[in-house]
Structures are given as C-alpha cells and as structure tokens.
Amino acid sequence: MKRSTMLAGLLLSGSLALTACSGNAAGADKTSAGPGGQAATGGTVQVLANAGFSHLDPVRGFDGGVNNFYRLIYRTLTTQGAAPGADGTKIVPDLATDTGKPSDGGKTWTFTLKDGVAFETGAPITSADVKFAVSRAWDPEIGIGSPYAKQIIAAPASYQGPYKSGEMPTIETPDAKTVVFHLKKPYADFGSVVAQNTFVPVPKGTGAGTELDSKPIASGPYKVSAYKPGASLKLVRNDKWDAKTDSIRAAKPDGFQWTFGLDPATIDERMIAGQGTDANAIAGTIQAASVARIQTPQLKQRTLSGLGGCTTYMGLNSTKKPLNDVRVRQAINFAVNKQTVRDAVGGSTLADLATSIQPPTIVGRADYDPYPSPDGKGDVEAARKLLTEAGQAGGFTMTLDTRAQPKMQAMAVAIQQALQPLKIAVKINIIDTSTYYEVIGTPSQQHDAAITGWCPDWPSGATFLPPLFDGRNITAKGNSNLSQLNDPGVNKTIDEIAALKDVTAANAAYGELDKQIMKLAPMVPLLYEKVLMVVGSNIAGAYLHDGFSGGIDLVSVGLTDAGK
C-alpha cells in the first residue's frame, strides 16, 4: 500500500518521483518498442537520478525507487518476470524452486531453496537466513518497509524481531533448504507476497541497526562497491552469484554507476545531449519542459513511454460542510477541468485524464466516466445545476491541501481556477512535503480537500478500493480514507468481494465497486500519469517494467557496445 509520490525535492521537482511506486501493474498498454536491441555483456550502465535511495536494507526500503534496484543486488523467494507487458508482472520462482506450496487450506506455505545460491561472502543461502530476514520485519525500528509479512504471517503479539525477541517461533526451517510460513488466515496469493523486499535473505545474526543501509550483503548478481548516500553508488559483479540459478536476471553489464542529487533539468539536458558516458546512461521520467525537445526522430528512438499505474486524485472530505452534500461533491467532479490539470503536470504526453478511481493497469477495471464533460474540460453548467439544487449557488470557500512541490501546486492552482466560475473559492494550503501525509492522514488536521495519488501493490482493486474507501479503516492517524467516506453500502460490497474465492470475479466486482463509489463522488479522479524516458544511445535491452511503475527493468538493461 503506497502513496504514489513520496519525498520529492522541495527545491526542484523530483524526476524520479513518479517511479516511486511499487505494485504489479498489469497490462500496460503503450510500452513503446524503443531501444530494445540486444545487450552485450560488459560495460557500466550509468544511472542519473535526482533523489537518492531511501534505504539499502531490504526490510526498510519499500518504494519504486529501491524495489527495482534491489533486484540487482538482492534475490527474493519469488520475483516478478523480466519482460515488457503482462509477463513482467507474472510471479516466478527466484531463490525458491517454485512459487510455494500451500497447505492447510492456504494457511501454511512451504518454499524450497534452490541449490547453489549464495551471499556475496560465499556463504550459501539457507532457510535460516530467510527466516531471520523475514523476522526482522517485526523489529519496530527496522521493519519499516513492506508491511505484508507482518500483516499476513502469524506471530506472537509481543514479537519484536530477532535482535530483541530472538528467533521467530512461527516460521519453521525443517532443513537448510526448506522454509515454512504459517499465516494468520488463508492467503491465496502468498506466492506474490514472498516477492516483497522483506523476503530478501539476510545472513543470520547480521544487519542490526543501520548496518545494511550502508553495507548491504548481496545475493543478486551485483554487489555494492562504493556508496556515498545522496551522491553516488557503484555496483560491481558479485562473483558468488551463479547465473545458472537465476532465470530472471540477464545481468549483462559489469556494473552500474548511480549519480544522485542531480537537478532534474540537468538530467534531461544530459540525457538529451547524450555525450560521453551519458550515452550509457538511463534516468527517470523527463520533465514536462523537455517533452518538446525530444520530438526529433533520433531522440524519439531513444524514448520509452508507458503508464505509471497510479491514479492522481483530489480527495473530498465528506465530513466537512458543504462537501458533506453528495451533490456538491458531484458538482466539483463535473467542474474540474482535467485538461488544465493535465497541462499542469506536463500535458498529454505525461498523463491521461482519469475518469474512474482505478487506473487502466488494474485488472477488471471498468472504463467509464460518471461525470463526463467535453474533452474533460469540465462541465460548469452541470455543476452549477447541482450546486443550485444543493443550495450552494452562491458558492463557498474550501481549503485544498497540497504539497510544497511545484507540480502539485500547479495542479491545485488549475483546480482553483476551474472552480472559480462556480464561486467556489479554493484556498490552497501548501504543506511541507515531509509532513504532507502526516497532516492529510490525520482526520483532525486535514482540510476540505487534498491532492494525492494512490498506486496499487496488487494489480487489482483489492489494494486500491478498500484502503481508500472502507469506512471502518478510518484511523486517527495515518488514515488513507481521505474522504472519510463511511458508506454502509460500500462497506458491505467490500466485505462481499473479500469473501470471493475467484480472483477474476473479485476483480470484476471491484470494477463495479468503483462505479458504486464514484456515485458518491468522494474524490475527483484527476490523472493517470505516464512515464516518459530518454535513454542513452548505447543502451540496449531497455523496456519499461510494469511491475516497477514503469521504471526501466534494471536486470535486463545493458549496453549495445560494452566497450564504449
């Protein structure tokens, strides 16, 4: 469960922000062929980035920025595929021989480790290491990453991780190769859960404190040879990694070199110029300003584009007057000019207009537009009618929370402008990036509306609709139900879908739930943002991976000419 964009620079918008989503987005539509080609073995791929990695410790790091990168140095029991399109989100065995054997009605899952897998130290990876690694998720100081293990695997209530509470009693390791998980309740898709970062093996007994954040112990094809947080990171080959045990990672280059802290505009300039080692470089999504500059045939060839898999929306706080009136919320839905909102983030190349809650990458999503307007430019008349009905023809003032980040502010201004004809005066309340979610996630502090985004961790409504609209999930802090919608009908449907055994049926049901919720208009879906990247001319094997919010699949990318 992740919000779309975390920590973007206060000073300049982070170009990697969009990729900072996790989730297995399926069926991305427009992944362009781009610089596919065949990657040669050798060379160093350069990565130009604005923001540094949050954590190298796998149990801490949990965002699109690190998830993709972790696959270079870490392995998990299972992992996503390495291919464009839907194949990329398919779960395949990695350290384990298969995607897990359920028993006990899906409450117990058994995994067997492959032979010949080892840490960079040369020590073989054992089931004990996996158990140790997973149990670290319970440590309150360390286990701040993926929450799934903790949510799904059974554990004593008092358990606080291996460093404080010793061995975890609920994970069994009958032998060095086998690891058995006992779940709180049956979980059909546990094979996907063990692809989470929490399941990266850590040598038993290591990794206390912040040890792994600076010196990770690699199990993947590369290991960290030099790391200056916020400045640079260098990966070299891990010679203890055996390609024979790994069918996913092509691992063609000899190494990777990250440069962090670059100004997004500078990154774009360098990528477009593509001089020197920048020919071997990849980077994040380009800035809106650079879109116009990559229209030449040469640059188009080096361009990759696809959906990010998230929905950017404006939550409407249904507890505040007059937003507690559904007609007012609907009116706002009609009135918002999504075109100008899209222009604010960089126009049609960088985003599609959103009509429903779930983005197109979600399986079972219904494509519909409950509040249509010509070209998405807003239907002021329809809105005015609804407002008149609601007795708000004279307009009102509402406060819109947004982050102290240019793009988010620009979107807020666009909404402000769009609502002006309805005499709705939007007061833009800018909140510091680092505290934004804290504020809007605290019902007592949030205002009338807030702009934010949501990315699914699963390519289904299960990780999208319930967290956002289940009225029983409203918490005093860390709330994600921004509209504070607590509708009995919606709650009931959520429970009904959760009871469904059939995944396909459930997905379809979520599509219907989407419509049911949007009738209540608790939010205004704004955009489905897209990824647009330029890679260096010597880059080969680059494609956007749907599992990593449209980031370039790092384990597949390489250089055309390794000697350059």
């Binding site: 469960m1 992740k2 919000r3 920590l7 620079g9 206060l10 000073l11 300049l12 540094g52 949050s54 954590h55 801490r60 949990f62 309150p140 100081e141 701040i144 929450p147 460093y163 206390a208 404190g209 912040t210 954040d213 600076s214 200056k228 947080p229 916020g230 400045a231 440069t259 802290g261 670059l262 100004d263 500078t266 300039e269 360098r270 110029a273 510091d432 990036t433 680092s434 505290t435 979610y437 804290e438 504020v439 802090k477 860390g478």
Partner: protein, 327 residues
C-alpha cells in the same frame, strides 16, 4: 593575548550554544513529530512510542537538548547503537550518521568556497586597485558601472544564464558535477568553473568597489603625502603605503564572507547540483530532516563565529595599533 583569545573563544561557545538552543527549540516547536516521520508509512502508535524512547523524545525538551550537546562533546547512545563524539545524531531520512554526511560533503563546499574566494579576491582587489589609481578615467567608470551591475545580478539568475549559454548553447563547459581532483583535473576544473564564477562575481564587484574606495581614501591620507614628500617611487608608495592600509579592512570582510561560504553556498550548490553543505541544507530542509538541519545550521554558525575570531586575530596581526593594545 592568550587571555584575549580565551575570552573570545568563550564568547564563541556562548553564541554557538545560543544558536544551538534556538535552532533546537524552533525546530521542535515548528516541526512535526520526528518519530512519526521515522516511523514512516506503516506506522502504529506502539512503534512511535518505541522510536520516541530510543531517540529520547519522551524526555523534557531541555534534557533532550542537554543530551544533544553531550553527544557533540562526548558521544551518546541511541538505543543499542553508540554514536561517538562528535555525535550530531542520525539522519531521520537515511539513518546515516550526520557527522559522516557532513564530512562527506564538506570538501565540495570548501572547494567551491576556496575557488570562488581566490577568484573574487584577485578580480575584485585588482579591479578596484586599477580603478583607484586611474580614478575618473574611462577604465574606472566602466569598471565601476560593471561592478554595480555585477552586484545587482541575483546569483541564481546568473547561474541559469551561464548554464544556458556555456553548457546548453555553446557546449564549452560540461554540466557541473563534483568530480574528484585526482580523477580528472581537467574535468574538475571545468566543472567547478561555473560555480566559482557565479559565486565570485557578486563578491568581486563588491570588493572592487570597496578596494577602490579604500585605496582612494588611503591615498588622501597624510602619511601618503609624507611618503611623497620623502621622494619615494610612486609604485612603492602604492604598494607599501596605500595598499596595506587599504586592504587590511578588506581582510576582515573577506574573512567573514569566506567563513559564511564554508557553511555552504546554498543557492549556487543547489542550482548546479553540487553535493556540498549548502545542498545538504536545502535537501534536509525539504525532507524536514531535523538532525541534519541542526547540524548544518550549527556548522555554518560555527564557521561564521570562528571566522569572526580568526579575522580579529588576523586583524590584530595586521594592524600594529590593535596589536599592541591588546597584548
């Protein structure tokens, strides 16, 4: 003299303590609960409590402050981990030792500051001197007009203009980065050239004006008349009798400016993406990383305050009148 130095250093400690306390109070008053921030996305009240305990946030503010100070002097313990002196804590964002973060970035800031300082001293003093000697000439007037212009350009505007012209359009310079000198001296120089220039121009113009004014004032001094009456060469009069008195006050200003820069040239480093203290400051502010903000603020204040003392000492050495009275 020793007494004087001790007295001054005492003042330094007092000021730094005040800066420290003020920063501490402000940020704990204004900022969101750091425990919540560390706790992250999947947070429970229990976790917040345990983080608060580890960080000592459950203690009274002044106790926390005292521990912070202790950490700097003697090191301190965070939960199980020990942080040895000088301990400025750990980043809330990256868990890195703040001290390490600072030492890693200081060289960049120092390189930027030193290079710029050399540039502006040379350009400023030379320009001002020539203007003073040729007072009223075409050279003087255009140099001073230029200096006014230079003082008026906001440095980020200049930075962007330069970057646009030299890097994007003409492509005579690479995009600024912070390569190590030992790796590639040529690239090192080219990379830093723009930051140096941008940073130096404002100061250079200021110093040119100052130098000119001071030299002109000094040339009107009675002792310069005496020197002329003694039949000294004009160059000797200029070099010995005019320059030293004219430049001594500039030393003071220079010391302060330079010390101010050692704490990071925030805008220049940010615009050029140089990973120095200034950028660290900007980044940590953006992320509300309190320990880092504290440390950067303290560091910058430290440089300024120490710079102040050093300047006074240097001044004492340069100006015999002060030297004797304080002895």
């Amino acid at each position: 003299m020793t007494r004087y130095v001790i007295g001054r250093l005492g003042g330094v400690v007092v000021i730094l303590l005040a800066v420290c306390l003020f920063t501490y109070l402000i940020f704990f008053k204004l900022s969101p609960d750091p425990a919540v921030m560390i706790c992250g996305k999947t947070c429970t009240p229990d976790r917040i409590d345990s983080i608060r305990t580890v960080l000592g946030l459950n203690q009274p503010l002044l106790t926390q402050f005292w521990e912070f100070l202790q950490g700097i002097v003697a090191g301190r313990d965070y939960g199980t981990a020990h942080c040895s002196a000088p301990c400025l804590g750990y980043s809330f964002q990256t868990n890195e030792s703040v001290w390490t973060m600072i030492t890693a970035r200081l060289p960049v800031s120092i390189t930027v500051a030193v290079g710029a300082a050399i540039l502006w001293l040379l350009a400023g003093v030379a320009g001002g001197l020539i203007s003073a000697v040729r007072q009223g000439t075409w050279w003087d007037r255009s140099a001073m007009a230029l200096a006014l212009t230079g003082v008026s350009v906001p440095n980020y505007v200049l930075a962007l203009v330069l970057q646009y012209l030299l890097v994007v359009k003409l492509q005579v310079l690479p995009f600024p980065s912070a390569p190590a000198f030992s790796d590639n001296p040529g690239l090192w120089f080219e990379s830093y050239l723009m930051p140096w220039t941008v940073l130096a121009i404002g100061y250079a113009c200021l110093y040119a004006r100052l130098t000119r004014a001071n030299v002109i004032d000094t040339l009107a001094e009675n002792f310069v008349r005496t020197a002329r009456a003694k039949g000294l060469q004009r160059s000797l009069i200029l070099r010995r009798h005019a320059l030293r008195p004219a430049l001594t006050p500039i030393t003071t200003i220079f010391g302060m400016d330079f010390a101010g820069l050692l704490g990071g040239a925030l805008i220049t480093e940010t615009v050029f993406g140089l990973n120095g203290i200034g950028k660290l400051a900007a980044d940590s502010i953006a992320k509300n990383d309190q320990p880092v903000i504290m440390a950067v603020t303290l560091l910058a204040a430290f440089f300024v305050v120490i710079g102040n003392v050093v300047v006074d000492l240097v001044y004492t050495a340069l100006d015999p009148r002060v030297r004797i009275t304080s002895a």
